[in-house]
Point group: C2
Chain length 110, copies 2
């Protein structure tokens, strides 16, 4: 498989890795919401939770883009931010993994 063609198996790996990263990031947001809700003592503290969630929802909606044409960029970003590990996408074609590493700046020349 090249970097633009995705086999059935690759799609399965990609979907699982993507979904797991999304759930990890949402879990971290939820953890933060619990902390903020536990510490809030006034209306300002309450609406700060809303502001935080509004921002996070906007960012995650933008970031989690499952079009195959952009997926290597999405994966590179998720790896950089720590929501995904390289081993989560093991099984993708060497070309795709190479592209991800290139975007991450760890791919060497080429």
């Amino acid at each position: 498989m090249t970097s633009t063609e995705w086999s059935k198996r690759e799609k399965e790996i990609a979907r699982n890795a993507y979904q797991a990263a999304y759930e990890r990031e949402c879990e971290a947001i939820l953890h933060k919401v619990r902390t903020m809700a536990g510490e809030a003592t006034d209306p300002e503290g309450l609406w700060r939770i809303h502001d935080y969630l509004t921002e996070k929802r906007k960012h995650t909606d933008e970031k989690y883009d499952y079009r195959y044409s952009v997926l290597v960029f999405v994966f590179a970003r998720l790896i950089r931010e720590g929501w995904m590990k390289e081993e989560d996408i093991a099984g993708l074609s060497e070309e795709k993994l190479h592209e991800v590493r290139q975007i991450l700046g760890i791919g060497g020349g080429g």
Copy 2:
């Protein structure tokens, strides 16, 4: 004082009652957010908290309107919904209290 003129003392009573009601309602919303955050187990549960806060913020922004021209309506609504008690606004002119009761449908003929 008539229902359209507000003395310094009335303004003080009104502001305190209004602020206390707002804090009570925000406290109830915060309590619900804590429960939702504690029970959420997936991204859907997380974003339900955001939807809930978005709706509540819109509603409270609309409801808590401190223009003196509409304040008797605001107070009547807050009393009906349980965020304010009639005794919280004791000290306002009889005319204003009468208007509030009228709006609440407990004022007798008018």
